[in-house]
């Protein structure tokens, strides 16, 4: 087929496809998925998520099991949203024997519920002493942290978590204001550090904290006693009570990131499996129909063996035996999915085979190969496309099922694996709906998109299968 012809027939197809509303909806969803895949590097909040999804240290700064940030819109008590502070004013003071470097961060706190922690990061080298002071809107200044680091000659990332290291400091700070009755009810080791920092200095600061809204200053001071000592480019993470577009899971991972990263795998698994299996199925069906006789009968018996094997148990067993990888899964699914189109193709090919032009071709001396691939298969291409579109959701759901059972490819993030983690962590029992619903919906939408496209294509292309 020439390019112009293809464009012509595509235009015909498109003008009919436009009239199918469901098809257009499916296509829009597909376009959105495609957009996400193409612009994934710009859309992912965590750029290394693809490689470090299962790396606990990558996610350690973030809150655990936090609902999505937008849940604040529906509640009167505004919970703190996870944020990072990267802007600071830097000043340096030479004090002869040592240099004091001060980084001042501004934090505008306007929530009702304090963040979980204040985590300070910075690149350090040598042996700096790091001091953290917090200046509250009411003028109180608390020195929450002080410690000397031994970073060595290389520049190293240091991490300071206020929640653990400053509990006693905050307790001592709060003790001044809290009533003795309340104090007796509070255990020092169990107080929430950030509650003390972000609450009004009054009675009940520990027992019934009231938020102190306003501008906070977090001063990070590095005392450098040597030429080699240094501290640079600090930033602060405030893991909030709510986080991100779709919240976080119990392993502190951002679910929105996971869902976005899963799009490409779902598309890849779906499309690859569909193309491979439909191609095999169409060719198998055509060959079976064309050869006829005992060869056809034999091929149909083989086909029936494959049809009667239940795929899911086989996949489960094979995934357990082999190192499960996405490619193996695609191969396995293709090995069983090809049966889906065989019967239809065979019956269509039976009809095509009786056409005079096939006989004419044989009379010209055409080989079976030529007749099958030049005359018969091209007629079945429209059918193949629509059936591919219908196979994609099946493959996506199967991969999700396998992953849900914990037998997925551990190198990648798929929706099924997010669901699997959710199930294993008791997300449903604990009411972490933001962990279960989004990947589930994503699977449903992906399936719906291709099912819509497939049904519409089927509707349009089917009448044209008749060659006359």
């Amino acid at each position: 087929m020439k390019l112009a012809e293809m464009r012509e027939s595509f235009n015909d197809f498109w003008s009919e496809f436009k009239k199918e509303k469901t098809g257009v909806i499916g296509l829009i969803f597909f376009a959105i998925f495609l957009f996400i895949v193409i612009f994934e590097p710009f859309l992912l909040p965590f750029e290394d998520a693809n490689t470090r999804w299962r790396d606990i240290s990558y996610w350690e700064d973030w809150p655990k099991s936090a609902p999505p940030a937008w849940t604040n819109w529906f509640t009167s008590e505004k919970k703190s949203v996870t944020g990072t502070l990267t802007e600071y004013s830097e000043s340096s003071q030479d004090m002869g024997a040592m240099v004091m470097k001060e980084f001042v961060f501004e934090y505008d706190y306007q929530y009702d519920d304090a963040p979980n922690d204040i985590i300070i990061h910075g690149d350090a080298s040598g042996q700096p002493i790091v001091v953290v002071n917090i200046v509250r809107p009411d003028g109180e200044e608390i020195e929450v942290f002080q410690s000397a680091y031994n970073a060595g000659e290389r520049t190293k990332d240091i991490r300071i978590s206020i929640d653990n290291s400053s509990r006693s400091t905050i307790y001592n700070f709060a003790k001044k204001y809290e009533s003795s009755e309340n104090l007796s009810n509070v255990k020092q080791g169990l107080i929430k550090t950030t509650n003390g920092i972000f609450s009004k200095a009054q009675e009940g600061i520990l027992r019934y904290p009231e938020p102190l809204k306003g501008e906070y200053q977090i001063k990070v001071t590095a005392i450098l006693r040597d030429e080699t000592d240094n501290m640079a480019s600090p930033y602060i993470v405030l893991p909030g009570k709510v986080s991100g577009v779709l919240g976080t899971d119990s392993q502190k991972r951002d679910i929105w990131t996971g869902v976005l990263a899963g799009v490409k795998w779902a598309l890849l698994i779906g499309i690859l499996t569909a193309i491979v299996s439909v191609s095999i199925g169409v060719i198998y069906g055509v060959i079976s129909a064309y050869l006829g006789g005992w060869k056809d009968a034999l091929m149909q018996r083989i086909f029936e063996v494959f049809v009667s094997v239940p795929l899911l148990p086989v996949l489960i067993v094979l995934s357990a035996v082999f190192e499960p990888s996405i490619w193996m899964m695609v191969v396995l699914m293709a090995m069983f999915f090809w049966t889906g189109s065989v019967k239809t193709v065979r019956s269509m090919a039976m009809q095509i085979k009786e056409e005079t032009f096939i006989e004419a071709s044989r009379a010209l001396g055409a080989s079976n190969f030529r007749i099958i691939f030049k005359h018969m298969v091209p007629i079945l291409i429209p059918y193949s496309f629509s059936s591919m579109a219908l196979f994609i959701p099946r493959a996506v759901v199967y991969e999700a099922s396998i992953s849900l059972l914990g037998l997925g490819d551990s190198q990648i993030v798929t929706w099924g694996q997010i669901l699997s983690d959710a199930l294993n962590s008791g997300a449903v029992l604990n009411g972490l709906w933001w962990w279960v619903v989004p990947p589930g919906l994503a699977i449903a939408f992906m399936g719906m998109a291709f099912a819509f496209i497939g049904f519409s294509m089927d509707k349009i292309l089917h009448p044209k299968l008749r060659t006359r």
Binding site: F357, A360, S361, A363, L364, G365, H375, P378, T467
Partner: protein
């Protein structure tokens, strides 16, 4: 190249299709057959147009397909150009296909609707590896289209079959069969699906091509009038056997076999006053099933002249009653 006078010799050719067996027959080891072609013999001279005439289901198309080697004969012998081609291997078949080509009844169905005319015509060249480059092949396609008077060829080459009229399609189909320079063409009712107005034109074209290229035709038809116009020799088939054979004038104007006579009577004549009269055809009934061929003379149940010996004695054989005029009837002299 042999100097044999005959290009094709068919000797007692048979094609029996086995029927699906019932359980009882499987146990008894029986097998019934549909005897589509049941012992056909004829010879076609070089450069001759041989007509095979008969009503639907008489086995004439099957005979054509046997000669085309689209079907394997059950029995008998097929000799082409002095070579026995009854059973051929792959290489032999390849050569044979270049020598014998076919024009089908429905010129639209015989072309892949997705192929342009040039692709349709190029196909035999690709299959038989004729013409080294695409450009060379296209030149050959043009030449073939010129031969069948599809002019200008450039214009027709890019068309799809559905963009051609019936006559143009059949010219295209003829061009396809000519492009390999065959010695013989089997034309299976090439004009029966074409408008009456263009029929003569196509037949004329085919005849011109035949003379120019010195081709041999096997012309299969149910239409006696075109057969008479077109052929050099006619064989009338009934239920898988030839019942009468000879030059058209003998067979049509001086027919001996009652079946031939009935066929001739059945031809419509567009003459005022005659068209709206339903003709009395001397024979009765329908063609019996080829699965269950009558005893004795296979025509006797329908024959108005049948007498006892027709079904009690063995089947009459084709014998030469005049010079070059063969008839298979016991009573041809009496009727």
């Amino acid at each position: 190249m042999s100097n044999n006078k005959y290009l094709v010799e068919v000797e007692n050719l048979q094609k029996w299709f086995p029927t699906r067996r019932t359980m009882g027959e499987v146990f008894k080891g029986q097998q019934r057959y549909v005897k589509a072609v049941d012992g056909v013999s004829f010879k076609i001279e070089r450069g001759e147009i041989f007509g095979l005439v008969g009503e639907s289901g008489c086995g004439k198309t099957t005979t054509g397909k046997l000669i085309m080697k689209l079907l394997d004969p059950t029995g008998g012998k097929l000799i082409f150009d002095a070579d026995d081609v009854t059973h051929l291997d792959k290489v032999g078949l390849d050569t044979y296909r270049q020598n014998v080509q076919m024009v089908f009844q429905d010129p639209y169905a015989s072309m892949n609707p997705r192929f342009r005319l040039r692709d349709v015509l190029e196909e035999p060249l690709i299959i038989h590896k004729k013409g080294g480059t695409k450009a060379e092949r296209m030149e050959m396609v043009k030449k073939a289209l010129n031969e069948v008077r599809l002019q200008p060829p450039e214009e027709f080459m890019v068309r799809f079959p559905h963009m051609l009229s019936g006559g143009q399609r059949q010219r295209g189909a003829t061009a396809r069969s000519l492009i390999l320079n065959p010695k013989m063409i089997v034309a299976d009712e090439p004009v029966s699906m074409i408008d009456l107005s263009t029929r003569a034109e196509i037949l004329h074209m085919m005849k011109t091509v035949q003379r120019e290229l010195n081709l041999t035709y096997l012309y299969i038809t149910h239409d006696l009038s075109t057969a008479r116009y077109f052929t050099d020799k006619i064989a009338v088939m009934y239920l898988g056997k030839i019942v009468e054979m000879g030059v058209p004038n003998d067979v049509i104007d001086n027919s001996f076999h009652p079946y031939t006579k009935a066929l001739i009577t059945a031809v419509c004549e567009p003459i005022a006053g005659k068209v709206n009269r339903i003709k009395e055809v001397p024979i009765k009934g329908e063609v019996p099933s080829a699965e269950n061929i009558p005893q004795g003379c296979r025509f006797h149940p329908r024959c108005p002249y049948a007498i006892k010996e027709c079904w009690e004695k063995e089947e009459p054989v084709l014998e030469e009653v005049e010079k070059g005029h063969f008839v298979a009837c016991r009573r041809y002299k009496e009727i």
